[in-house]
Assembly symmetry: C2
Homo-oligomer: 156 residues x 2
């Protein structure tokens, strides 16, 4: 017996679906136009830039960018071809690959950041009360946790 969504849930859900369908392309579009980067490309560079030694193992970067290892591998290959990122084998274990941000990658990130941050601010935070910023963090965190938990359940 299906438990359908009530009216409030229905409205909230349609709006959230709207965010996924509209915000994602909007971010990609601005970054693509101004910096020839995908939003996901940007996220990879940003996560590397904040990591110790500007370098992370593939699986750690995948986890920090919320991506599958497969998706990340394709994207890192592309970024490597463009010279924004470099791969090298880990000294610790031969099945581990380390990715690091190159100087060119760092520069590209620094150039792209202001425009991207402005876009995020204007699309998400402009006019959003502080209480809603907190709520957004709480709710989005809740959803991400549930998705991760369900993935573990179905993989088993």
């Amino acid at each position: 017996m299906t438990r359908w969504l009530d009216e409030d849930e229905q409205r909230a859900w349609l709006r959230l679906a709207g965010v996924m369908l509209k915000l994602s392309p909007a971010l990609d579009s601005q970054l693509q136009r101004d910096s020839d980067l995908t939003h996901f490309d940007y996220l990879c560079l940003a996560m590397l830039s904040e990591a110790e030694g500007r370098s992370l193992r593939m699986s750690e970067l995948a986890s920090r960018t919320n991506a599958s290892l497969s998706r990340l591998s394709h994207v890192v290959s592309k970024l490597e071809r463009r010279g924004l990122v470099a791969r090298c084998p880990s000294p610790e274990s031969r099945r581990v690959t380390l990715v690091s941000l190159t100087d060119d990658g760092w520069e590209r990130l620094v150039e792209a950041a202001p425009g991207h941050v402005e876009t995020v601010r204007s699309l998400v935070f402009e006019g959003l009360p502080a209480a809603d910023v907190a709520a957004l963090e709480r709710i989005a965190g809740h959803i991400v946790e549930h998705v991760e938990a369900s993935r573990l359940r179905t993989v088993e």
Copy 2:
């Protein structure tokens, strides 16, 4: 001079990006596995099913599903090939195309709905306080509005 995000905004933003990166594939994956439909396919069928006469013009369906006309056109072509949807010229104006849900499309939607709704409930609403449901609707609505407004600005 860039106005960077403060710490609270930063955390909220990373979590929201996580939702877009993880929730969307999770929905696609369940629907694909159980009903051979994309989440966007589902949305199209669902919007048609609720429309008067189970039929809408392309541009109206695009607007209700938050998609570009181009994306919709490709997807409708695919759904039409599979017999879930039919196109016909509008009697009102010759540049308008009407899309309508076929009986097969209706059946497919009815079969897919319970599993999809269960997934949405378990990933989004399970354990989410009613106050947060309202906040989600408000915040997501705020974001969608801003994205739409910015699109209008850049198109001009």
